[in-house]
């Protein structure tokens, strides 16, 4: 399904790829020095928060960061009744995976629901897999959700609308390196090419 979509927007992916390749080349030419690492995202290496999450996947199995050691983990918080930000963020994550080429399978994307009341396990599985079959949706009880959101300093709130409700929520994505350490807070305004460029830098300077 992803392939079909990109057939309709070939120009877009080529421009992204071109931007990405140019910035990758530029980076490759600079000295590999930790002090010269320059990210589009916010570097939060060494932060004492964003340490872990313990939530259930759609099979009811508890997952945590350690499960994904050896891979880069991109975490986004949202809800399935979100018409805009969340689909855009997950579509971008799928595009990032494509831009990373053969290293794309080193990236694990995780979508955490801040609306577990309405986002059932079944819905989470169908929703995330629609963007990419490898994406994992996690959810928990209201209490567990609050614990994880607090750990990530993620703001979320129910807001009544008509006879239902919507959710306000933080739109930052969080990137962990292969040792399970938090490295980057990635902003929603950035493109897939910018995200991929940052992840590529981490890959080139991997411990």
């Amino acid at each position: 399904m992803l392939k079909k979509t990109y057939m309709h927007t070939p120009i877009t992916i080529h421009q992204s790829r071109r931007t990405f390749l140019i910035s990758s080349l530029a980076l490759a030419l600079t000295a590999c020095n930790k002090a010269t690492l320059k990210f589009n995202s916010i570097d939060i290496t060494g932060a004492d928060y964003c340490r872990d999450f313990k939530l259930n996947d759609s099979d009811g199995k508890q997952r945590q960061l350690a499960d994904f050691k050896g891979r880069y983990v991109l975490v986004f918080f949202g809800f399935t009744q979100c018409p805009d930000i969340c689909p855009t963020a997950l579509a971008r994550a799928a595009a990032v995976k494509q831009l990373l080429g053969k290293d794309g399978n080193k990236l694990q994307v995780i979508f955490i629901s801040i609306d577990p009341e309405r986002d059932t396990a079944d819905l989470m599985r169908a929703y995330t897999q629609n963007f990419d079959p490898s994406f994992i949706g996690l959810r928990g009880t209201a209490e567990q959700t609050k614990q994880v959101a607090d750990e990530f300093k993620v703001f979320y709130a129910k807001v009544a609308t008509g006879s239902s409700y919507t959710m306000d929520h933080s739109t930052l994505s969080y990137l962990f390196d292969t040792t399970g350490k938090i490295r980057l807070a990635m902003r929603h305004e950035h493109s897939a090419a910018q995200f991929a460029s940052d992840i590529r830098q981490l890959m080139q300077h991997a411990p």
Binding site: S16, T80, P83, D122, V159, T161, G162, S163, D168
Partner: protein, 150 residues
């Protein structure tokens, strides 16, 4: 009855403004496709009205509840809010697009698949407080569709 009285009234009073009804052009209406268990989604389009007007409500057979929402980013926090009307200034293309206004469809009656046509009825109110409805056929687009370049 109206057909007789309106032109008569217009002829008698010079202060009545021109044609009561605006013409609203709808461009590229689309709705984000959903997975079967999903209960809500958004519709987007570009609207241009010939005269000052505003959208005051929306309905659709595809959803139990339809609202117009704004989307604002407040320091990396996304906030969506229902608005009771959306201005359509004369001659200005108003965009309902990801990152901005959208039509929120809640309580979906069925899955929206790529290529499906979702009918929307928008109620437009002119400066003279007269209302009219316009029918929009929004096309289902893949979940990962975005107006912005990726």
């Amino acid at each position: 009855m109206k057909k007789i009285i309106t032109p008569l009234f217009a002829a008698l009073s010079l202060t009545i403004s021109a044609a009561a009804f605006s013409q609203v052009a709808v461009k590229d209406p689309w709705v984000r496709a959903t997975v079967p268990q999903q209960k809500a989604t958004g519709a987007f389009m570009q609207l241009t009205s010939t005269q000052d007007a505003k959208i005051i409500s929306a309905t659709s057979p595809a959803a139990k509840s339809v609202e117009i929402h704004t989307m604002e980013m407040d320091k990396d926090v996304m906030k969506m809010r229902q608005i009771m009307s959306l201005d359509l200034p004369a001659g200005k293309a108003v965009e309902l697009k990801p990152g901005s206004y959208h039509v929120m469809l809640m309580g979906l009656n069925a899955q929206v698949k790529e290529g499906d046509i979702v009918p929307l009825t928008l109620t437009i109110e002119g400066k003279d407080k007269k209302t009219q409805t316009i029918e929009v056929k929004a096309v289902g687009k893949a979940m990962n569709a975005s107006a912005h370049k990726m």
